[in-house]
Symmetry: C2
Subunit: 338 residues, 2 copies
């Protein structure tokens, strides 16, 4: 149905070979022929078939992006960074979510493999080891975002320096005069949570403050309900903290809600800090002190990295990790203790 280069060839009175070359600006075709054929192609509404081209060239011009949950606002921005970077290029983007479901992960990777994607960006915390092995055996570049699990030479990394971030947050609270600082974590968030907690502990140590086990709460999820529960636990302590650092902004919002419901005020009675600087962090009351993780840039760097790798000869060595640093954002949810 669709018009092919053969149709154009017939109409132009040349061979389909010449048409193919003309459309690809092959130097051996005369300027005049190229112009004539391109014009004709335009007139006939010719659209090249990526399938046929891919079959011949062994390049699909498609990148796979695998995330955990699409609705995660963090991933949303990462995705945007990727999309913006890819859009001007000739690459398109396959998207799929795994949802921590091994069955689904397997299907997704299978689909990407069949489509012969030229590269994969992974932004899911949980990768089945066998699936990764399967991926590696296809010879395409793999970039992992915020996942330092793998110490694998074939895998490229782009991640944010979380340890330093929570260290800065802790420092900020210490500078305000707080001495009783708690950490509200998310056990399901794996390595990321570990890193943030580590930064918190290092921050305390640097300030010469003691590490108090009951000030460290490991909630399960990273959702607001978890902030409510965790905060209620802290409030029930004999000697509650005067400041709380949360694993992320969602939890912080939950924590604020719990504090308010207990009849206390943020930041007057307790200071609360989040992490991620989600869009709405500035609109909640009080506006949230948080750490801005460069989500968009994470996606951007991951995409750039893969494009570089693909444009390079396979031989050339590339840096196999990019570390990004975020920014402490001080708003009104943190003040000096009274």
């Amino acid at each position: 149905m669709a018009v092919t280069i053969k149709d154009i060839a017939k109409k132009a009175g040349v061979s389909h070979t010449t048409v193919s070359r003309a459309l690809n600006d092959h130097p051996a075709i005369s300027k005049e022929t190229v112009g004539r054929i391109k014009l004709l192609a335009e007139e006939l509404d010719y659209v090249p078939s990526a399938a046929a081209r891919g079959l011949k060239t062994n390049r699909s011009l498609v990148l796979g992006v695998i995330v955990h949950r699409i609705e995660d606002p963090f991933l949303t921005d990462v995705l945007r960074g990727i999309e913006d970077t890819l859009n001007p290029s000739e690459y398109s983007l396959f998207l799929a979510a795994t949802k921590r479901d091994p069955e689904r992960e397997k299907r997704v990777i299978q689909a990407m493999a069949e489509r012969r994607v030229d590269g994969i960006i992974f932004s899911s915390l949980y990768i089945g080891v066998q699936q990764l092995r399967y991926l590696k055996q296809i010879d395409i570049p793999i970039v992992l975002i915020n996942n330092q699990t793998m110490q694998d030479p074939d895998v490229y990394l782009v991640y944010h320096q979380d340890v330093e971030a929570t260290r800065q947050l802790t420092q900020h609270l210490v500078d305000l005069g707080h001495r009783k600082i708690a950490y509200l974590g998310s056990a399901r968030s794996g390595r990321t949570n570990v890193k943030r907690q580590q930064g918190y502990e290092e921050g305390l140590e640097k300030a010469g403050l003691p590490l108090c086990p009951e000030y460290i709460i490991s909630g399960t999820t990273s959702r607001p309900e978890n902030g409510i529960n965790g905060m209620n636990g802290l409030l029930a302590l004999a000697d509650p903290p005067t400041a709380v650092i949360c694993y992320n902004d969602m939890i912080a919002i939950g924590a604020i809600k719990a504090i308010t419901q207990a009849g206390l005020s943020v930041p007057h009675d307790i200071s609360v800090a989040g992490f991620d600087n989600i869009d709405l962090a500035q609109y909640v009351t009080p506006p949230l002190t948080t750490f801005h993780q460069p989500r968009y840039q994470l996606g951007q760097e991951a995409a750039k990295m893969i494009l570089h790798i693909l444009q390079q000869d396979k031989g050339a060595q590339r840096p196999d990790a990019v570390v990004l640093h975020g920014e402490l954002i001080i708003r009104q949810s943190t003040v000096s203790p009274h």
Copy 2:
């Protein structure tokens, strides 16, 4: 490099034709041969080439999804609905964003056309008419989400009943006793905004309340800043409203902020209602009364619709529109006026 059916054929001592048929469970191949070949394929890590198959079958098993902005939380949920529906099927998903940029829109559609997607789901309010014409000339189903712009027989629609929604919201405020109700719109949101404003006006009319022009503010964007600006305008009126219906939750959050900054309280002095029921609507203070638009289902229905169309014979007639109804969610940002 990759192993092909010919490799399997050689190893199995049959023709590649037989291998192809065996892998596709063609009835004319003996059970025994099928089993043997499938086992062999597994052993050799055979992965079929979607490009080659697509070339032959004229089906790519890919659906294109075109959105306006990926980071829009509304679209995020729509996307999730689509992805969840597509995932168990054999279809994969191309994602691209247009950003109201005609240049970009053109590129995106061109890419989808080259990839020969089997269908397209459009969830961008702004579609260039020429681009749509271009799309229609390829013979693939097109589903538009929340966009009733087109009255086109070749285009399928899935949308939310916005008029009824704001009518209900208005009714709710009237029931509470409000008589001075304002509407804070978003001019750039096109038809959606028109529909919501229409529902507001119908609600007033039904309650026998007068339509007061200065209570209708048409801000530009749909972001919180716009809510701040618009609300400040309303507060400056000689006779400010006692309740405000906002185009969406983002604007409502902005409006609350403006009211609070003016030294007034929500809902005590002014009631505020949003629209969309975004994730955080329940966590802001006070928790937001809003209208829950079934975002996830919108995506789900769109994807289901396209899958049905593709599985059906082309001839069979399908309903070409699905209308979904949402749900009024009453929280604490709306109370009776004092």
